[in-house]
């Protein structure tokens, strides 16, 4: 494999992505993701309950309630009822005959009414016990960490999609057969596609993590995890590219490929520990564990290397098993 030819392949695909403004989107994407994360993380972390109040409760009480929950102030009782009846579970707080009253729709979850009552009790009455707070001064929120993990996984999914769509485009435009006339082997062709995909992934992962303020995290650990996770991502991209003759078929392939990538982490979150062994054969399970270790749990190097090593080993086994098939389907000579 000649590195000069691989480099030419990368330059060619990069020029093509510049022409198609894909590069522009890749540059715009992480800040937009980060913006989404900045919107999402405090909202998830601070979610308690939504209260609806009328101005007659008084500014002081409304202000106190807002320390515990999102408070929407509406003009009067009718507006309060209308708001409570909207789709999301919001609880109204009203004062009738000098006494406080909760206004419910009737279909709220078990906890919504009790949380609203607890908040109101604390806001209006003296506490039965003195409560003071201490702060350990840690800044890396687990919610932000999990959002970061999901964004990193999404970057891999995007890489899968871009690699496969790129290969299919070459097939559709006939470039893949034109390349056969050049002194380029199929493995150099795939290396070029893969390395460009890797560069895009790294750019998106790091830009998204830094811009969303994820952390603190060790960039070297994230780099190692991404490199480990990218092998299986690229393999999925090659597979979809290999089996699809057009973009319509590629989208069908991506549906399954992306599902493998995003479902495994989501299942890991809810699966009981005793059943996690079911996911052991999936490289994405190890990618998720390693990202979670690097971005949420501050895992040490031995653990991260073990997870990434297993991931890489599984991915390489899959590469070895797929080499013949990919070689046949992605032959530059048609």
């Amino acid at each position: 494999m000649k590195s000069r030819r691989v480099w030419s392949m990368i330059k060619r695909d990069f020029a093509s992505s510049l022409r198609d403004t894909i590069t522009l989107w890749i540059l715009v994407f992480p800040p937009l993701l980060a913006l989404l994360a900045r919107l999402l993380v405090p909202a998830v972390g601070g979610a308690t309950v939504t209260l609806v109040a009328t101005p007659d409760l008084g500014e002081a009480l409304i202000g106190r309630l807002a320390e515990y929950a999102a408070v929407e102030v509406v003009a009067g009782r009718e507006a309060l009822n209308r708001r409570v009846l909207r789709l999301d579970p919001a609880v109204g707080v009203a004062r009738e005959d000098g006494a406080y009253r909760l206004i419910l729709e009737g279909n709220e979850g078990d906890q919504t009414e009790s949380v609203a009552a607890i908040i109101l009790a604390d806001a209006v009455g003296p506490r039965a016990i003195a409560i003071r707070s201490r702060d350990l001064g840690r800044t890396g929120s687990p919610v932000a960490g999990f959002v970061a993990v999901m964004f990193a996984m999404m970057s891999l999914v995007l890489a899968v999609s871009l690699i496969s769509l790129n290969i299919v485009e070459d097939k559709e435009t006939g470039s893949i057969t034109s390349l056969a006339a050049a002194p380029l082997t199929r493995w150099e062709y795939l290396a070029g596609k893969g390395l460009l995909g890797l560069a895009i992934t790294l750019l998106m992962v790091f830009a998204a993590l830094y811009l969303m303020g994820a952390g603190p995290f060790d960039p070297v650990k994230v780099l190692v995890v991404t490199l480990g996770g990218f092998v299986s991502a690229a393999l999925v991209g090659f597979y979809v590219g290999a089996i699809s003759d057009n973009q319509i078929a590629a989208i069908a392939g991506l549906k399954v490929g992306n599902l493998l990538f995003m479902m495994v982490p989501l299942i890991t979150l809810v699966l009981p520990d005793r059943l996690e062994f079911i996911l052991y054969p999936a490289p994405t399970y190890w990618t998720f564990l390693a990202y979670r270790g690097a971005l949420v749990d501050a895992a040490g190097w031995p653990q991260l290397l073990r997870w990434s090593g297993i991931n890489l080993a599984l991915s390489l086994i899959l590469v070895a098993l797929s080499a013949r098939f990919l070689g046949r389907r992605l032959s530059l000579r048609g």
Binding site: A123, I129, L165, I251, A252
Partner: protein
């Protein structure tokens, strides 16, 4: 006109079937159903996130937590154990001091908790101690606007069904419809279509209908294999159909602005993420995000929840259907206008 429309739908269905999309849609729905039925638990097993060190003689708070919420609290007996337990990022410490009964609580936060979460936790402890000391917890009378409502909360695995139907069924046509459009652009089929008597509206509605048929198949398979045949079928199918029509048309508007799938893919991915935000709110009901209720997926997820797990609020479904119809009434003319501008005027 009807014959032209049927021919367009039949052609799209052929394309979808020939490229294995129907097979994959059914296979993915079956896979999701298997996950829901056999892999995702009915309840989440929580790690204990409260660390309680009760230094009073009666140990009332520690005992209460040990007896009532054993899975949520870890009770410790020494300062060393307390500090050690707080090393884990998700934990909050509760040090109880007093002689016989609790007199003061010191809550130890990690540092990243929001102000509202902290204040709520303080309120919960104050409430529990009041209940413990006085025997009766403080309460308020409640007015229920729709009495007699409120069904049972679904198990965790089943509560995912509305979200999966929204994501898998209602949103599945977004990318596929765009890809079909790009294919037609490449093959100049659109140019040929323009000289035929068929109009843009027919073309767009036929494409949306094809995607909605796929969406209905996916929703039906997923529903049958998870909640069973005893579901509110008319509402589920109506909501999925309308949702799919609306989202497919919206995706077609977006796709008409780009030359190929490569260009379209990242904006599409981003828009999908935004459209999925209501699902986060669905699982975190107290969460507020600005303008989220304007997204078409917002009424969709709530209407689907009501259809699968009724709480006796038919208004939710009516409201959702009306909002989807209103969105459709905006998106369809917008799609026709955009198509005329992007494809016909620019002679694509």
């Amino acid at each position: 006109m009807l014959r032209r429309f049927s021919a367009l739908v039949a052609r799209d269905i052929k394309l979808v079937v020939r490229n294995h999309h129907l097979t994959i849609v059914v296979a993915v729905a079956v896979l999701y159903a298997l996950l829901v039925r056999f892999l995702i638990p009915a309840e989440l097993a929580f790690e204990p996130n409260l660390v309680i060190w009760d230094r009073t003689a009666t140990r009332a708070i520690a005992t209460w937590y040990r007896e009532t919420e054993p899975g949520r609290a870890k009770v410790v007996d020494s300062e060393a154990a307390y500090e050690e337990a707080l090393r884990e990022a998700n934990r909050i410490g509760v040090k109880v001091t007093g002689d016989r009964l609790p007199e003061e609580l010191e809550l130890t936060f990690q540092g990243f908790e929001g102000m509202r979460s902290r204040r709520l936790l303080e309120a919960i402890f104050s409430f529990q101690v009041t209940a413990m000391l006085r025997g009766v917890p403080p309460g308020f009378p409640a007015t229920v606007l729709r009495p007699g409502e409120g069904g049972e909360q679904p198990a965790l695995n089943l509560s995912l069904v509305p979200v999966l139907v929204l994501f898998e069924a209602a949103m599945l046509g977004m990318l596929l419809s765009a890809v079909l459009l790009f294919g037609e652009k490449d093959e100049q089929t659109l140019r040929a279509y323009r000289v035929s008597p068929g109009g843009i509206a027919e073309y767009l509605l036929a494409r949306s209908l094809t995607m909605s048929i796929l969406a209905l198949i996916s929703a039906a398979v997923l529903t049958l294999l998870t909640v069973g045949p005893a579901a509110n079928w008319p509402v589920i199918l109506a909501v999925v159909f309308l949702g799919s029509m609306t989202l497919t048309l919206a995706a077609m508007v977006l796709a008409s602005l780009f030359r190929n799938v490569g260009q379209f893919y990242l904006p599409y991915f981003l828009i999908t993420l935004v459209l999925m935000l209501p699902m986060v709110v669905y699982f975190q009901p107290g969460m507020r995000l600005p303008l989220i209720d304007l997204l078409p997926t917002y009424p969709l997820v709530y209407a689907l929840r009501e259809a699968y797990f009724p709480t006796g609020s038919p208004g939710v479904m009516t409201g959702a259907v009306l909002q989807l119809l209103a969105t459709l009434a905006v998106v369809l003319p917008l799609a026709i206008l955009t198509f005329r501008r992007q494809l016909v005027v620019k002679d694509v």
